[in-house]
């Protein structure tokens, strides 16, 4: 029997690569994406197209009104920083309060409902660039908590696994892995501040990291 997995799917490079990795090792993928008042609405559109391209078993879009909480350049009218030093240890203003914690909690509810025990997330240390909720320590603590939260893991012999197969990889290694598995990266969008047609800005943290990843693979980003 094919094992089910829930996957956090944005329109980006990392979650797309995570998806092809999960499928390659035999999972039936149930994707979940979030509409959280992103300034870059085109991201969600990309996620929908990507889910079709990746041929996932099901794709849920969850509405979350994070604007209630304010305080982030990704949802408020603060300018997205350009050409910032991505090695900086400061938490960037693009940080959304408790974002991965909320996303993973919905993924957990989805997993329990469909009887999945593996949750895939495209977090990686490089992309961390100051986001505390992309670190292995955080993901391990989340997994421990999740195993105490659910009926099936508390009263049964099941175990929730938070799987972050990209966690130790550089952007270049991620791209190399995706290419090896046949992923067409022109279907993905990583930019924090794309124009309305989905063209990346080329200068935000995310664009900088992505561009370097393709350059390290001696390639030009096929989304450009």
């Amino acid at each position: 029997m094919t094992k089910k997995a829930v996957l956090l799917l944005s329109g980006g490079l990392d979650s797309a690569t995570t998806c092809v990795i999960a499928k390659d090792i035999g999972y039936q993928v149930y994707a979940i994406s979030f509409d959280y008042g992103q300034r870059h609405k085109v991201e969600l559109q990309k996620a929908i197209e990507l889910a079709k391209y990746l041929d996932v078993k099901d794709h849920k879009i969850i509405n979350i009104d994070l604007r209630l909480f304010g305080g982030s350049a990704l949802t408020d009218n603060i300018n997205v920083p350009k050409n910032r030093d991505t090695e900086s240890e400061e938490v960037p203003v693009t940080y959304v309060p408790a974002r991965n914690t909320i996303f993973l909690s919905y993924a957990l509810a989805y997993a329990e409902t469909i009887g999945a025990y593996d949750i895939f997330i495209g977090a990686n240390i490089l992309d961390y660039s100051g986001y505390p909720d992309c670190r292995p320590e955080y993901l391990n603590a989340y997994e421990k908590m999740a195993n105490l939260a659910l009926s099936a893991t508390v009263s049964g012999d099941k175990k929730i696994n938070i799987k972050a197969p990209l966690i130790e990889l550089s952007k270049a290694q991620i791209i190399s892995k995706g290419l090896e598995l046949g992923l067409d990266y022109s279907k993905t969008l990583s930019c924090y501040d794309p124009d309305d047609s989905g063209k990346p800005c080329g200068q935000c943290d995310s664009c900088q990291l992505r561009n370097k990843g393709f350059k390290d693979n001696n390639m030009v980003d096929p989304a450009l």
Copy 2:
């Protein structure tokens, strides 16, 4: 300076008691309630009235579409069990997938946004009656995870505390504590299956526990 706290507020007896305890020890309370497609809509109305009566600093209502996930008598068209043995170790069908995990995650985002570090939840072991996400082990694991999730706790010297002051109390002790602090329990509603006017059924798990709590205090429930 008054310390801020976030409080998970339902319309029920436990969260109302938790609120008066938090206020009594000097917290400024920011309440958060959830509209998650409850069959008992009157619960949310009670929470709004209760927030006013308890004079909280602010009250946010968050929309969550848990019906997407299905699988619970509180949100689906399954009958709420009546006169069930509340000592049973079985997980009741009124269980909502990952509910407290989702609720606490929104509370965490809210806390970070307003600069609060204490989150109050009315969980208690008795009320556990089979819900894994009401147990101390779960709440401790949630707290550990939360402290790894936020900028302020990772890069600063702050610490998130998940406070469950009712955790070890019996229903009778909870009611006794609330009465001591002047709480009018006629403002609260605990029933899983009230009629449209908010009258409790008297027979669901929650009504059974509540009735016993008032009886043990030699009282009749003032909400009846």
